[in-house]
Symmetry: C2
Subunit: 122 residues, 2 copies
DNA sequence: CAACTGTATTATCCGGAGTAATACAGTTGT
DNA sequence: ACAACTGTATTACTCCGGATAATACAGTTG
């Protein structure tokens, strides 16, 4: 069972989405692996089941998981999920970069930050 | 007078903040230049004066502008404002990159996006 | 003095977030 | 067959932040 710390300013179901997305992309949650039940997750997180359901529904809408009534929710098969997550993350990164560029942040500055995070190239 | 399109999902005063920040960093709003009055901006944007005031207050808190009661609000002097904006934007970019890295986005992918936005290096 | 400035206060409305309590239909293990 | 689980759906309620609205005050400016 995964753990999530509800810290941020974002809504709880958004945070659940993000964390599960991350776990999928990193591989902690494998393709076709069964996710904890809605009620179980809710209990583990000390959160209302409806909130978790909202998160799962959003994940399914984005193609990260698929749900089978009366059976469970599963990570999308064949690496589709991981790809979807990275695609989402890439788009978010693009948006952030566009915004930064709009406010005058230079490419050099962006590269420096990149080196801090991914390690210097070469 | 500047224009702002209230599109995003963010709150109005946040959008006003962002747009004024951008205009400052780019140089459209020069240091010590007087900003439009709260009521004037509100009217131009079709928005409540209180909302604009909230935006101006936040901008002042972040050191981007300074307000003189009964006189007006002005862009912070000596390029301080532009620097503050770029610093903020850089931090936001760093946060976005960290999140992307966490979800498995590779440096190569990030570089590609960077090339799209800032132009290819070299 | 009139018209403007930023600032402050209070009240109200609306929508989303979150909670709560159910209910239903289908699966699964015993 | 039955109990216990699954996802899904519905309805109602509370709470809080965003936004609006209507003022009021004090100080500046022409």
């Amino acid at each position: 069972m995964f753990k999530i710390e509800l810290d941020g300013t974002a809504s709880i179901h958004d945070q659940i989405c993000s964390e599960i997305s991350r776990l999928i992309s990193v591989g902690v949650l494998a393709p076709d692996e069964k996710l904890p039940a809605v009620r179980e997750t809710a209990k583990a997180l000390g959160v209302n089941p409806n909130t978790v359901q909202k998160a799962y529904a959003a994940l399914e809408k984005n193609g990260l998981i698929y749900s089978v009534p009366a059976k469970g929710s599963y990570v999308a098969p064949g690496g589709m999920a991981a790809e979807a997550v990275k695609k989402e993350a890439s788009e978010a990164l693009r948006t952030a970069m566009e915004k930064a560029a709009l406010t005058g942040v230079s490419r050099e500055t962006a590269e420096e930050i990149m080196n801090d995070i991914w390690g210097k190239k070469g």
